[in-house]
Amino acid sequence: MNGPRNRTRGVALAALTAGLGILATGVGLLALPAVAGNPSAVLDDVPGFGRSPEAALRDNTIAYWEAYQREQVVTACMSRSGFTYWQDVAFPEAEVVKISEELKAPQPRTVTKEQQTPAAQRNGDYETRLAAQDRERYSRALSGESAAEMSEFRRTGTYPKGRGPDFGVGGCLGEATTEVPSIWDTKRRLEDQRQLMRDEIAASPQLNAIKSEYAACAERTGGIDAQSPADVDAHAVKGPAQQKAAALALESCNEIWAKGYRAAEDVAAQRFAERNATVLAGARQRYKDTVTRIGQDQGFLRHLGERAAVIRTLGLDRQ
């Protein structure tokens, strides 16, 4: 009688062992990006260029606050034209929750049905309900364009004939963009300089120095002849079997590459800072009191807390 029971017990123990093994592999993969070391912090003090987790969160906080301010401008501008407008601050939801937690924004106890309706939908419904003449006025006030052209533009994603990026960005939207610039403007303006920095990193002695160590690792872990992750990827594109070995090598040798990259980035970022000292000083100056002002902006904190509560209620922050 004990035979079947012992067999079941054996299966159970095997399942327990297998379960633990699979679980450990899964948890290990989840933790993969948490490599040792710290990102280069040379540019951390320049808003818009933060690399450490703290500086990156500061930059995102400023970016979200600016986006909120732009929507405040649009709301006031539309109100002057006699229209209701619900502010629609577009930002990745999980990041909004993180910013709200960092600023300890007050959370409402409950979230109403109205708050759960996306602002874009509320604005769309409002616009649709307007009489034709008012709808035309609404469209021109918001974007500077006719209702018919905007409707077609939304449907197709294509600019009307003879128009380009200047289309749909006038009216109150244009006013907001002019009044509230972006923390990312400097980064975008310096893209050529950032490319130069990347070129310097690619040709750096620091990355060159780790090539033999990387090659030994790639050979040992994946049986691949590769001095860099680019070489490993060149192997991976050959087919599914090679891809598996390449993934293992990429993962196993990542820290060697990262060590060289960090060292090279520190030097290149320093040169970048020196070459662009005046522009970067301008960014520092422009944002020197911003974080303090954000912490004191009660209207913003209320909005942020509400938004985070809605995101959590609807589960929009889940991966």
Binding site: R9, A12, A67, G124, F167
Partner: protein, 264 residues
């Protein structure tokens, strides 16, 4: 894939515990409960671990977001289609809004190998909403507000209705932007060998999303959802079988090639 393994591992573990319960000296109801529980646990685990968890049926207003513990500092915004008439654009298989978002998710994090995904390579990755609301401008604004370095749009293409023979990969760039042009070339180089048919490259100057502010931007029409064999290729699945979505990591390869494999 990691979450699938965690889920499957938990389920196998739970099944083992319940089987132990079943094999104990207890009688009747307890043993039946143990056996039934083990079967249910295993079933739920398999369900969680299956490629169905890749959300290839999901229509959502939410942007998904992956933040590595330490990031390389580069933000990649993967924009999905938001056609209001998705499902009635001549699709032979899944609707266009699903096609774009599914590929984006696999490029961001759900691919066959975590080490080869954007997230696994320490990029900050956001996959946009794919709601049927024509609100692609919200994708562009989110990308701009977030400060994306890379804005990559993925749609599936159409020519007349389902059953048409047209099939090629199309990658579009913004005229006058060297970064956009270079990323487009890199994407064609990587994707062309795996996507059925040939490839085409032209500008996307007339499309609003092409004017996202990210310097590295491209607009991909991955395959024709009106071509039956291309649809079969796309719907062949992913996660370790050498099938279509397993090639989504090539986005990361193209981006890494352009940015020099940044790692923290």
């Amino acid at each position: 894939m990691a979450w699938s393994l965690v889920g499957f591992g938990c389920a196998v573990l739970a099944s083992g515990i319940l089987l132990l319960f079943h094999s104990s000296e207890r009688k009747g109801g307890y043993r039946r409960l143990g056996r039934a529980g083990a079967a249910v646990g295993l079933f739920l685990g398999l369900l969680w671990a299956s490629p169905a968890s890749a959300d290839h049926t999901e229509i959502t207003t939410a942007h998904k977001y992956w933040t590595p513990t330490l990031s390389n500092g580069f933000k990649v915004f993967l924009s999905s289609p938001r056609h209001a008439d998705s499902r009635s654009r001549g699709e032979c298989g899944w609707e266009e809004n699903i096609n774009g978002r599914n590929w984006n998710r696999y490029a961001a994090a759900d691919g066959a190998s975590n080490a080869q995904s954007l997230f696994g390579s320490t990029y900050l990755a956001s996959v946009s909403a794919n709601a049927r609301d024509n609100n692609y401008l919200a994708n562009r604004t989110t990308s701009n507000n977030w400060g994306a370095d890379v804005h990559l749009v993925t749609h599936s293409n159409a020519f007349q209705g389902c059953g048409n023979s047209a099939q090629y990969l199309l990658v579009m760039h913004r005229t006058g932007s060297s970064q956009s042009n270079a990323l487009t070339d890199e994407l064609i180089k990587r994707l062309n060998p795996v996507v059925p048919g040939g490839s085409n490259k032209w500008d996307c100057d007339g499309l609003a999303e092409c004017n996202a502010l990210a310097p590295h931007r491209a607009y991909v029409e991955l395959f024709f959802h009106t071509n039956r064999s291309a649809v079969n290729w796309y719907q062949s699945g992913g996660q370790g079988h050498g099938a279509a979505w397993d090639n989504a990591w090539l986005y990361r390869l193209a981006i890494d090639t352009r940015l020099g494999y940044p790692r923290p």
